[in-house]
Symmetry: D2
Subunit: 407 residues, 4 copies
C-alpha cells in the first residue's frame, strides 16, 4: 500500500456518473454503504494492495454552473435512485469537494453540450493548446495542494459528436502542431483532457464513447510520457448483456437473424444523446460487438431515446430472433431496468483503483487487461465478457505474484 494519497480527477465532475461515484466514495469511506457493484472488493482481488477508499481525494472539471450537492441530489429527486438521507449525510463532504472543481473546456463539443456551459466558458477564446495548458495548471495545483502521489483522471463527460479519425495525423509530432490551430484541430474536449493528463504522466480512463485517448498519436504520447490509459465507453447495462449472451448463441450455433435493442432513459446524458450527432458515437459503440462475437452480421437495430420521466433509470428491451434446429425461428427477449449512474459509478471507482495499481507496477500504454469494463476496449478484439474477465484475473494473479509495489 502506498503511503501517500491518490487523486481522482473527474472530467464532467457534476454529471450523474461523477456525482454518484463521488457520493459513493464518501459513503464507502464512512462505512455508510455496502460493496454491491464493486468488484475490487471481492475475493478474486484480495491481496493486491489496492488503495483504501480513505486515501483518495476527488477533484475535477465541469462546464456547468450549479452546486455539486444539488447535482448529486437529482439522483434522489428526479430518479428515486439514491436515498435522500444518504445524500444529506454526504452534503458536507460534497461541499468540500466542490472547492476542488474547475471550469473545463467546450472545444468541439457541439451545440447540444455547449448550451449547458457557463457563459464565461462560452465566451472564452482559447486555442486547444491553451485549453490543455489551463487544464494542466488545474491538475498540478490539485496534486500539490493535496500532496498526491499520483492522479487518475477519468472522463465521464457527456458523449461528444463523432470525430472523423481519418483526418487525424497518426504521429504525436504532427498532432502536437495541430493543437495550436483552433479552427483546424478536429479534436474535441475529451482528447484535450486526455493529452493534458497523459502529458503530465497521469493516468487517463475514458469511460465515455467520446474519442479521448483513442487516436494513435495520443496513445504514442502516453507511451512517451510513461503514462497509462484505457477506454472506451463503460460497459454497464444492455451492452454488458450482449457481451454475455451473444457468446451463448455463438457457442450453441443458434443463428441470430436479428437483434433489436431499444433503450429509454431520461437523464442529462439522454438529453445530449437526443442530438443525432452525439447519439451516433454511442450507438456505434453499442452495436459493434455483436458481429465480432458471432462471426457474422445479423440485422441489428439499436435505439437510445430520451424519455424524461425515466430519469436515470435506463430500461432496455432487447429482442433476439434466432434460428434453431431444422431452421425453426425462436425468440429471446430481455428487459433491463437499471439505474445508469449506479451501474457506472462503482466501475469508475474500480478502474481508478486498478489503474493506480498499474501505475505502481510501472505499466505503460493501453491497459488491455481492463477490457471487461468497456464496450470498445482499446487494443482488444475479444468481446466475450467471460473471457475478458479471465484476462483481468490473469493480470491480478501476475500482479499479486510480483508482490507489493510502491510508487
Amino acid at each position: 500500500m502506498a503511503n501517500s494519497r491518490i487523486g481522482i480527477w473527474l472530467f464532467g465532475a457534476k454529471g450523474g456518473v461523477a456525482t454518484t461515484a463521488t457520493t459513493g466514495l464518501i459513503a464507502l469511506k464512512n462505512g455508510w454503504s455496502g460493496n454491491a457493484g464493486l468488484i475490487t472488493t471481492t475475493a478474486p482481488f484480495e491481496g493486491l494492495g489496492l488503495v483504501d477508499w480513505e486515501d483518495f481525494v476527488v477533484g475535477g472539471h465541469d462546464i456547468r454552473a450549479g452546486r455539486l450537492y444539488d447535482e448529486a441530489l437529482r439522483m434522489h429527486s428526479e430518479s428515486r435512485a439514491i436515498e435522500g438521507a444518504l445524500l444529506e449525510k454526504c452534503r458536507g463532504e460534497l461541499d468540500a469537494i466542490e472547492r476542488n472543481l474547475r471550469l473545463g473546456t467546450i472545444h468541439n463539443v457541439g451545440p447540444t453540450i455547449g448550451q449547458f456551459a457557463e457563459e464565461q466558458l462560452r465566451k472564452l477564446q482559447e486555442t486547444p493548446r491553451e485549453a490543455i495548458s489551463r487544464v494542466q495548471g488545474d491538475l498540478r495545483e490539485f496534486q500539490e495542494r493535496h500532496q498526491l502521489a499520483h492522479v487518475v483522471a477519468v472522463n465521464v463527460c457527456s458523449t461528444e459528436p463523432t470525430v472523423d479519425e481519418s483526418k487525424l495525423p497518426k504521429r504525436w509530432e504532427e498532432l502536437d502542431r495541430l493543437i495550436d490551430q483552433k479552427e483546424r484541430c478536429p479534436l474535441a474536449a475529451s482528447s484535450l483532457y486526455a493529452i493534458a493528463a497523459l502529458d503530465l504522466g497521469f493516468s487517463f480512463v475514458n469511460f465515455t464513447p467520446s474519442l479521448g485517448a483513442t487516436p494513435a498519436a495520443i496513445q504514442e504520447l502516453a507511451v512517451e510520457r510513461g503514462a497509462r490509459h484505457m477506454g472506451y465507453d463503460g460497459k454497464t447495462g444492455e451492452t454488458l448483456l450482449k457481451s454475455v449472451l451473444a457468446p451463448m448463441f455463438a457457442k450453441r450455433n443458434l443463428e441470430v437473424m436479428s437483434w433489436v435493442g431499444h433503450n429509454i432513459f431520461g437523464n442529462m446524458d439522454g438529453k445530449v444523446l437526443d442530438d443525432p450527432a452525439n447519439k451516433k458515437s454511442k450507438v456505434t459503440s453499442k452495436d459493434r460487438l455483436l458481429g465480432q462475437i458471432l462471426g457474422y452480421s445479423p440485422q441489428t437495430l439499436v435505439s437510445i431515446e430520451y424519455i424524461q420521466s425515466m430519469g436515470d433509470w435506463k430500461t432496455a428491451w432487447d429482442h433476439v430472433h434466432f434460428r434453431g434446429f431444422l431452421g425453426t425461428p425462436m425468440t429471446f427477449q430481455f428487459i433491463w431496468q437499471g439505474c445508469d449512474s449506479l451501474l457506472a459509478a462503482p466501475l469508475v471507482l474500480d478502474l481508478v483503483r486498478l489503474t493506480e495499481r498499474s501505475w505502481r507496477n510501472g505499466e505503460v500504454g493501453a491497459l488491455t487487461h481492463l477490457s471487461a469494463f468497456f464496450k470498445s476496449p482499446l487494443g482488444v478484439e475479444e468481446q466475450d465478457f467471460g473471457v475478458q474477465f479471465q484476462m483481468l484475473q490473469r493480470w491480478v494473479e501476475a500482479t499479486r505474484a510480483k508482490g507489493p509495489a510502491s510508487a
Copy 2:
C-alpha cells in the same frame, strides 16, 4: 473416421426429443436441413474425425404404442415447430426405423408415466434383472443385425419420480444383488437402461433429470466394463441462460436478492411433470446451479407448468431482482420462447458424435468435458457455461492433437 457404422439407441424413442433427433438425422443425411443448433459442425470441432450423419443407425425402446411417424408429426400438428413438408419427406425412413424399436420397461416409473404404457407392458412381471436382460437382448440384436461397431445409448424418456439415493448401495457388487429383488430395488427404468448398456460396454448418455447412471455403484460398473457415460439433464433453455447470466451477476458483484423462473409448456413431458413426484426431479436440477455460481443462496423459485396450448413451445419468464451500488434494487427479466425438442435434439446428436469419439479414444467413466451440455454435470462443480465450454474446447484440442483413432 471409423469404417463401420455406429448405432444410436434412444430410450424413449417415440418422445418429442427422440422423434425430433431422428427426423433431424434423416434431414441431415439427405441434405434437407442446415446445421443450426448443432455444435459439432462448427469450426472449433473441425478435424476431429467425427462420424458422418450417414453412418448412424437409429433404434430404441419405448413404452407406448403408436406409430413413430405419427409421434413425429405432433411437432407439426400440435406445435407448428417442424414443417409438415419435411416430415412428409422423412416418412419412409421413419417407418424403416420403426422396425428397430422395442418395448422398454416401466419399472418404478410411477403411475403418471405408467399410464401411457402398452397393456402388455403393464402386465409384465419381471425382476429388474430380467428387464435388463431383455433390454440387452434387444441391444445385441440391433448391433448384430446392423453390424455396428459401437452403440451410443441415450436416455430421452420422460422424467421419473425422484429416487432416494441414500438407500442405494455405493458398490456395484451390492447393487448387483439388489436388482434381483423386484420390490426392494428402488432403481427406476432409467438406471436399468444405463446398467444394460454399460454392462455391454456401450456408451450411455442421460439427457433427462432421472437418475440413470448417476449412482456411484453404476458409475463403478461403467469403469469396470470400460464403458463411458455422461449426464444429466440436457441444458437447453432457461437453465442454459442461468448458467450464462448468473456468472455476470457474480463477476460484477451485483447481489442477486431473488431469482424467479416460471416455465410453461404443453408437450408430453409437460403432462408428466404435472405430477409433483416427477416435477421434483426437474425443478431441483433447474435450481441448483444458482447457488453454485453465485457463492450464496438468493431466494429462488422455479415453476414448470403444463399449459396444453403451448405444445412443444416452452416459454420461460425469469425475474432477477438484484442490488446495485449503494444498495439500490434493480431488475432484469427475460422471456425465452424456444421449442423444447428442437433445442434438445441437436444436443443429442452432438453428444452421440462426441461420445463415440471418446469411445474410439479409449476414454472410460464420466465424460466430464461434456459438462456444458448438462444442467447437473456428473463430477463437475463448474456451472459457468463459458468455462464449461472451454473445458470442451481443451478436450477437442487434446483429441485433435492425438490424431485419428480407430475402433
Copy 3:
C-alpha cells in the same frame, strides 16, 4: 356537503393498505400530495358534494402490536415506495391516529395470521358475539368521542382462509344464533367485523377476498338495519388488467386458449398468502372473471408467491395464448410493476367518499354501482371494467341530479 365529520374505521389498521391510505389522507389534508390514483377528484365526479379530506377522522382495529408510524415507514424502508421525507412530516398525525386504534379479533383467521397477533389477543376466550360486542363498543366510543355523523368501516385485513359458505344459514335469524357458539360458528373475523358495523347502521366495505359481508344472512342484516356495504377484493393490478383486456379478446373473437398469470411480491400480505389455505381465497377471486367475460373457460393458471426482496412491489407476468384467423396461435404478454398498497389506498379513500354519499342518499344493501372497484363485485355479473365504470357514471349522474343531500 355534510357539516359534521365522518369516521373511517380500518379493520387491519396497521397493514400496508391501511397505513398507506392513512398517510395519504394526511398528505391530502395538508396539500402535500397530488391526486394521482384517486378517481373522486376527477371531472366526472364533480358536483357530487363529497366529503372533504379534512372532514375525515381515522380509527381502526388491528391484531398486532407495533407503532403505526413504524408500520407506515416500511413502505419506505422495505419497499422504497413512499418518500421518507413525507412520512416524517406525517409522523405527528400518525401518532395521534394511533390513539384511535383498538385490538381486533382473530376468530377463525387461521394460524398464519394468528401468529402475528398480540399475546393478550391469542389468550382471549370470546364467543363470536362477545367479539362483535367488543368491536361495537370501540366503534361507538370512536363515534362519540369525535362527534361523527357516520362511520364507514373498511376491511383491509390480511386474507383469511376460505370459509365453506354452504355451511352457513341463509337467514340472519339463524346465523344470529350461531354466533353464540364459539366452536360451531364458521365465520371468520372479517364477517364479525361486518356484522358489528352493519348492525350499528354503519357502512361496511370489504376490500379483501375474505368473506366479510358476503353471506346472504349478513346482507339481510344490512338491509334490516338500513345499512349499506360492498365488496369484495379490491381490483388494483393484474385483475384490473384482466377486466380490461379480456373484453378485447372477446369482442374481437380472438379465442383465448390459455391465460397464465404469475404474481410475486414480498409484503405482509404476501407472507399470509404463502399459506395455501389463505391463498385459495385470493386465487379464486383473481381467476373467476375470465370465464365470465369470455363466455368460455380457457386453461388458466394464477400463482401468487412471496418473494421477500420485492417488498410492496407486486410484479405480475401474464401470458395470453390466443388463436387468430385461420387458427394461427399468437401471444400477448404483459408485465405489471405496481406498488400494491399505493394502488389500493386511493381506492379505499374513494370508496369511503362514495359510500358516505350513498349513506346520505339513503341507499341500503349492496352498492352494486361500485362494482368497478372489486374483483368479485357483490350482486353484479358484469366483469368488463369499462361497463362497470359506466354503471358508476350513471349513479353519479343520477345522484347529481337529485341535488345535495344532508345526513
Copy 4:
C-alpha cells in the same frame, strides 16, 4: 338476405392483407377454417341477414407483377403464419381469382412504392382523371361479368407518403377540376381509387393510413352519389391495445408520464414504412389517440422498424410509465406478438359484410358506427374501444329492429 352476389374489390390485391383475406374467404366458403378473429359470426351479430361467404366474388387492382398464389404463399414460406397445406388447397381458387385482377395506378405513391410497380405502369402517362376512368372501367366490367348487385371496394395498398391536406379544396366541384392536372393534383392513388368507387355508387373502405376518401371534397362526392365509406387505418394490434388500456389509466386517474411503443416486423408493408415519408402517415395514426383518450399529452414515442426475419409477425413492446398515489412512478409493459395480416384480414371481411348491410339499409356517407375497426375513425372523436364497440352494437340493434332489407 340479398339474392344476388356481392363483389369485394381489393386495391392492393396481392399484398399480405389482401391475399390473407382472399385465402381466408376461400377457406370459410369451403369450411376449411373456423371463425376465430371474425366478429360478424359471433352472437351479437346474429339475425342481421349478412351476406354468406359463398355469395362474395373477389377482384382487385395491384401494381405488381407476380402470381397471386405465390404472394399468398409468402405467409407460409416467409412467415410460418398460414399452413402450407391450406394454401395448397386454395390454389385453384386463387388462380381463378387472379383472372379478376387488373393493374392499378401509382399516381403520387412515391418512389418507395413505385419501385415495385410493373414497368408498363411506370411508363404510363395518365392524368388522375384518366386513371380514375380506367379503374372505373375495370370495376364496371367486374360487376357486369359476375352479375354483382353491389361492390365493396377496400384499400389495402401499402401506406402512401402524407399528403398536405391544407392544399386540397374543400368542395368536390373544385377538386373535380384539379384531377385533370397531372402535376398539380396532390392526391395519391388511394384517393383516386376512392373517387373511382364512390363515383359509381360503390362502397369504399380505407383500411390503411393513406388519405383515401378522407378529404372533405371526396366525402361530399360520396354523399352526392349516395355512396358510403369508412376509414381509416385498421386497428389490429398495438393501437388496439392502446385504445383498450389508455381508458383504464384515465378512469383510474393513473397519470401516464410517458408511453413508448416500438414495433418491429418484416413484411412488404415494413419495407415501405422504412421510408420516413411513408412511415410518417403510420406513426401519426398510431400515436394520436393517446391524447384524445387521456385528455392530456404524455411524452410519447412510436417507432415501427423493418426487421426482415420477422416476416409478417409484428412484435410490439410498449412501456407505460405512470404515476400512482403519492406520486410514486410505476410501470406497465406489454409485448404483442401477432401476425399482422391474420389480424387484419378478418376485419376486412367483417367490414365488407357490415358495409354491404349499410348499402342495403340505404346509409350514405361516413359509416361512423364502424369506428371500432379504425385507428383514425372518420367523424368520430371517441377512441375508447369499448365505447366504440357499443356504438356498433347500437347500430346492430337498430338494424335488426328494422328487419330484413333487400337491394
